[in-house]
């Protein structure tokens, strides 16, 4: 019991004293996960809208595959990216393995099906009416796309946050492609896993608290923005 209490006290001091190693890990985690979500959103948003609105043969099959891929285990993604980026792999010449770039690639691949699936589902349910209204009011295809993004901005933001949550909380993919190298590819989840195995709970607790605070902060911001007129 004392060990846990001491762990919390030490964790608290690490946070308030701006422990360099702790904050380096936090910043790296945020940079990697935010980059992955931003890159993913660049093609998930237009593609999800297009998929949601377009009628074509084989759409049902594609949507089933998409929904199924939303829950792909992160270690499988990690393994796939490792094989691609390893020295003998097709992209081995880039020398990206065990770098933050490899972690961003892995997390981008990990969150893309989730974000794409959620955006597709939202647009499929309610997008057609907005598209029709936009067209009737004289908007062209690009203006309709912008209109749909504006109308669903809070839904899309929540979907992107779901993607960010998946990215920042996963451990398998970044561990495999990043290697958990101190000062280079160590992020919050891989550090917690490592420190736990070493029995050093103070750093784990501090990072756990920070992860919870990030989650809480993100939720407060989203729900405040979701209904601005209230």
């Amino acid at each position: 019991m004392n060990e846990i209490a001491n762990g919390f006290i030490k964790a608290f001091w690490m946070i308030v004293s701006f422990d360099p190693e702790l904050y380096e890990i936090i910043i790296r985690s945020l940079v990697v996960s935010l980059s992955a979500v931003m890159i993913s959103s660049l093609f998930c948003v237009p593609l999800g809208i297009w998929l949601g609105l377009k009628r074509f043969k084989g759409k049902q099959l594609i949507s089933r595959l998409l929904y199924a891929s939303m829950s792909t285990p992160s270690v499988v993604i990690g393994l796939l990216i490792l094989l691609m980026l390893s020295r003998r792999g097709p992209f081995g010449f880039l020398g990206l393995l065990y770098t933050p770039s490899a972690m961003i690639i892995a997390q981008t691949v990990l969150v893309t099906p989730l974000v794409l699936g959620l955006i597709y589902h939202t647009v499929k349910q309610r997008g057609r009416q907005i598209q029709q209204e936009g067209l009737l009011l004289g908007a062209d295809s690009f203006q309709v796309m912008i209109l749909i993004i504006r109308e669903f901005k809070m839904d899309f933001l929540v979907h992107l946050i779901a993607g960010f949550s998946r990215a920042i909380s996963e451990v398998g993919a970044v561990m495999i492609v990043g290697g958990n190298i101190k000062g280079s590819t160590r992020v919050m989840t891989t550090t917690i896993a490592l420190m736990n195995s070493m029995g050093e709970y103070d750093m784990s607790i501090a990072l756990g608290v920070v992860l919870l605070l990030i989650s809480l902060l993100v939720n407060i911001v989203v729900y405040k923005e979701a209904e601005p007129w209230k």
Partner: protein, 204 residues
């Protein structure tokens, strides 16, 4: 805008939902479209609006087939219109904005429309918070903002208060007199059709 429908056949999953041999909507007339539920009134409006191009037969606009440019000349208001999640003012301004109308002219037009529809007091209110009658007035003002030559009204005045119905009818009459546009008005209310329309067509 003159509309001619010839040998129109619309199917959903091999089931015929609409079949019209010959139908003509004269330019500058208000035509009431009556018929039972499922008779294809809304389907016909969707086809004429250009939203549904998956049909057999011909729909001619001033004697020509549908072109993308026609969209700029057609306005439509449905029974449950979708208002964008923004203010009343921004909703009405939208069709002018996408057409690249300068801000000054946009402001004047939107204020005039809001005044005519008696919705000036709610101009800054968000569309999500409006009552059914207010929402219909905003949807109609938005459809009229671009001054369409063909106005399609799909049970626009159903389920709203009598006062709002009269305001909408009055403004439609004014707009019709100003522009000599063609109006196709779907309704279940025979009294209203007789009162408001120049001619009535019943779909079976």
């Amino acid at each position: 805008m003159e509309i001619t429908v010839k040998n129109l056949l619309k199917k959903y999953n091999d089931k015929t939902v609409l079949k019209i041999l010959d139908l003509h909507f004269t330019k500058g007339q208000i035509t009431g479209l009556l018929g039972d539920n499922g008779s294809g009134k809304s389907t016909l409006l969707h086809i004429i609006s250009g939203l549904d191009l998956d049909y057999e037969g011909e729909v001619l606009y001033e004697g020509a087939c549908f072109k993308e440019e026609n969209r700029q000349l057609i306005g439509m208001v449905s029974q449950k219109p979708y208002l964008f999640k923004r203010s009343v003012y921004d909703n009405i301004e939208y069709p002018l904005k996408v057409r690249g109308v300068p801000k000054q002219i946009r402001q004047e037009k939107v204020h005039k429309l809001m005044k005519n529809m008696n919705i000036e007091a709610i101009s800054r209110q968000r569309a999500e918070t409006l009552s059914g009658g207010e929402a219909q007035k905003v949807a109609l003002a938005r459809a009229l903002a671009a001054r369409p030559a063909l106005l399609l009204l799909d049970e626009t005045t159903s389920n709203i208060h009598e006062d709002a119905v009269l305001t909408i009818e009055e403004q439609l009459k004014v707009y019709h007199q100003e522009t000599n546009c063609t109006i196709i008005f779907v309704t279940h209310n025979r009294m209203q059709a007789e009162r408001f329309c120049d001619q009535c067509i019943c779909l079976n």
